[in-house]
């Protein structure tokens, strides 16, 4: 505990020439450290350091504004990504082919899977955006310019459009991962739509390697 000792002579701290009785004060800091530890523990447990981030998302309206054939036309040029349960993900290009189960390709959330395929399809816009990034880092163009041009490239005519459909068994994480890939692969035009029976049929067919369709054939 704290002590106050008085030293008549022979102490280390000698004020020059004074004949006062030297007192040396030892204050024990242990309780103070104790309190500090408690306060730190309180703050570490009750607060969070990072503010949560968000992804902005725009959904299409429910009211059918476009005539039906227009959406079909878009679908024939689009890539459809199907998110199924068990962290599995499939995609097909254009309109679905119900007769051939291999037309539905399986991929994964790893960087070699969906990302590699989309980067390949979008190679035009991706290379241009990488050039723009280099220019921004070398301060040749401003931040605002960079953003405007990136948006233009992402929604440009050569960028594929992606339609995302998720089954009921998939998890929220799967959906967010898919939306992430859109952002990483610089795809500006994508939509989350309801999954249709045809797509569920395709997935089941693929998972059973064609056995499922034979049940209907007979």
């Amino acid at each position: 505990m704290a002590q106050i000792e008085s030293n008549d002579g022979g102490g280390k701290k000698k004020k020059g020439g004074s004949k006062q009785k030297k007192v040396s004060v030892h204050v024990d800091f242990t309780p103070m450290v104790d309190m500090n530890m408690l306060l730190i523990t309180f703050f570490m447990l009750c607060t969070s350091l990072s503010k949560p981030q968000t992804m902005e998302i725009n959904m299409p309206t429910n009211k059918d504004v476009d005539p039906k054939h227009q959406t079909e036309l878009k679908a024939s040029k689009a890539i459809t990504v199907l998110i199924a349960g068990g962290d599995s993900i499939f995609y097909y290009e254009g309109l679905p082919n119900f007769k051939d189960y291999t037309s539905l390709k399986e991929t994964s959330y790893k960087s070699g899977g969906l990302r590699a395929y989309l980067l390949n399809r979008n190679i035009d816009a991706v290379s241009k955006i990488n050039e723009l990034k280099k220019k921004k880092n070398e301060l040749k163009i401003s931040e605002k310019d960079f953003k405007d041009q990136v948006t233009k490239l992402r929604t440009g005519p050569t960028t594929p459009t992606v339609v995302i459909k998720a089954t009921d068994n998939s998890t929220y994480k799967n959906l967010i991962d898919a939306l992430d890939e859109m952002s990483i692969c610089n795809i500006g035009v994508y939509a989350i739509v309801k999954i249709e029976k045809g797509d569920i049929y395709l997935i089941k067919n693929k998972q059973t390697k064609g056995v499922y369709s034979t049940q209907f054939a007979n």
């Binding site: 500090n36 949560p52 992804m55 998302i57 070699g112 992430d180």
Partner: protein, 201 residues
């Protein structure tokens, strides 16, 4: 008995340096962190590369737990009072001043209208314990969730909607919530995620 005498050394350690370091750590934590809101269920949000920060005010946060229960929280207390009264009007319920007080101090709410009165009469810690078992009904037969969101929007035009769901929440639940929001013509909303770097596997 040993004849060798060990010189007794003092065991007092000088704690000044240690308390110095702890004071610095403490100051760092006090200045850089924010208090987390008390939520009925802990939700682990999925990671995303998006770096857009969540806006601070005028937020309607929809919390969805892995079992599919929906809870809501508004950041302004005046919003909460107005929304409660508006929803009460739809169900022909009026609330006394105490019930309104009990409601507005809750951070996250989410009970069906039938049990709302009983719930508000409970004490605060009982409320915390039982809230996790409830959740606003969101099925097609009794979509109270839609009514809450509609009235919250009417009372505050600038409200922004943010959805905070657990990683493992099945898509079916999210789909229902998104469909309800689409029916109300709410097409712009945020999904709350944790920051992660793109995977380089």
């Amino acid at each position: 008995m040993s004849k060798i005498k060990v010189a007794r050394k003092s065991t007092l350690i000088d704690m000044t340096a240690m308390s110095d370091v702890t004071v610095l750590l403490l100051t760092f934590f006090m200045l850089t962190s924010t208090f987390v809101k008390k939520e009925p269920v802990t939700v682990k949000t999925p990671g995303s590369v998006s770096e857009i920060k969540i806006p601070e005010t005028n937020i309607l946060q929809i919390l969805i737990d892995p079992k599919g229960k929906v809870f809501m929280s508004l950041d302004k207390q005046s919003d909460m009072i107005n929304t409660l009264e508006a929803v009460g009007k739809e169900y022909n319920m009026t609330f006394s001043a105490e019930e309104i007080n009990a409601f507005k101090v809750q951070k996250t709410f989410g009970v069906p209208m039938k049990v709302l009165r009983g719930f508000l009469a409970q004490k605060a810690d009982e409320q915390d314990r039982t809230l996790a078992n409830y959740g606003i009904p969101n099925d097609s037969t009794d979509n109270q969730f839609k009514i809450w969101v509609k009235n919250a929007r009417i009372k505050n035009r600038d409200l922004r909607i943010a959805i905070k769901a657990d990683e493992k929440t099945p898509y079916k639940v999210i789909k229902n919530v998104m469909n309800s929001l689409q029916d109300l013509n709410e097409n712009r909303y945020n999904l709350i995620t944790a920051l992660k770097a793109p995977s380089k596997q």
